[in-house]
Amino acid sequence: MDSLSVDHLIGIKDLTKNDIELIFKTADAFKEVINRPIKKVPSLRDITIANLFFENSTRTRLSFELAEKRLSSDVVNFSAASSSVKKGETLIDTVNNILSMKVDMVVMRHPNPGAAKFLSERVDARVVNAGDGTHEHPTQALLDSYSIRERLGEVAGKKVVIVGDILHSRVALSNIYCLQKLGAEVMVCGPTTLIPKYIHELGVKVEHNLQKALAWCDVANMLRIQLERQDIKYFPSLREYSMQYGLTKEILDSLDKKIVVMHPGPINRGVEITSDVADSEQAIILQQVENGVAVRMAVIYLLASKIKRQ
């Protein structure tokens, strides 16, 4: 029972409620560790982890690297920009070359949905998905739910609205799975063009009016407008988007309750969220980042315990 049901972390979809609770319980212990004077434990001294980032990332990559180092594992970093991928090497070849240098686990971010699953079926290493295109970003969803649990006591029964670009967001999809598995009610809110057509199939509510969505919820997760994925025009202008879907102090203060405001970062200040909201008491954006390290330590620790040596 006290073991994950999966050998790789590809998506929240594959996890059970027990898996998520086990990760949270383990993360509690790591959160205590990273607040010690010496923020490091020797558990994974004999494990080597490769961070393969085929897409840009600052926070996720730093967070994974810190988590790995605080577990005492050896870390190698790889980014596509400065690699042989540019010379035409395939994903499997790249990874197998790295694995032949005796690497036990791979943390991968890739622009193609399904890349992590593809890899996990073909190489002999544990795979952690750090975001695959518009598919899933499981550790982000875990740390979001962990932060809600920390702030509100539990996730079950809470009402969470995810606002913004649901269409392109792997954070949204992973969050929907994670929140629902933990018993929360989920609503998505955004312009019609950025809400996937069949989102109802996932059992979430849809609302196009931000004010109404906020009045309903306990927690608002404000997603970033992914300017790099706006290949066609989904809304007339950033200014128009922020006028309709930007969270301002005035809207927040007009509600008859204090909701929790989250953001997975990086923030476009003044677009989806104004500075005074992002820096307010109700925002737990920086706590999310801190919890990210603890949650990633828990995921890596639990997956590494499944690696058996001869």
């Binding site: 086990l22 212990a29 004077p37 577990l71 590494a304």
Partner: protein, 182 residues
Amino acid sequence: MERQVILNSRHFELTLNRLCYQLIEIHNDFSNTVLIGLQPRGINVVTRLKKQLESILGKEIICGNLDITFYRDDFRRRETPLIPSATNIDFVIEGKNVVLVDDVLYTGRTIRSGLDALLAFGRPEKVELLTLIDRRFKRDLPIQADYIGKTVDTLISERVSVEWEEIEGEDKVVLFTPESNG
């Protein structure tokens, strides 16, 4: 399994009492000494010692819990992952005399991990070890206790269990011996 009570509740209390006075003999009024119990079962010993010491000395004794899961040397040699318990050390151990407390000292591996875990919190002046039961003959590491409740000579196949009034209903120490095949 054959059960043999090696410390009944009366002797259990006497033993804890004696340990308290031994601690006071060395640490006087505990002004620079803290007790740290090793999770999970060392905590019970600390809770009892704290209560007893406080009633003798009439002052608060600083105590903490230390979880050693992440410092163990058998990680990934087991079927399931080791799940941690809480660590609760909300004081500075720098320059303090620390008494590590556990219920049973056997191979010494737990204490080895405990020493490692402790150093993550700073550099204590001195570290001592208190154990309620010392099982001789199967020490894997050069570790000995400074304060011992009772020393028992056991076979590897035997098991020693410390039971508590708060948890199991009665204070006692039981030795389990597997039935011999004749």
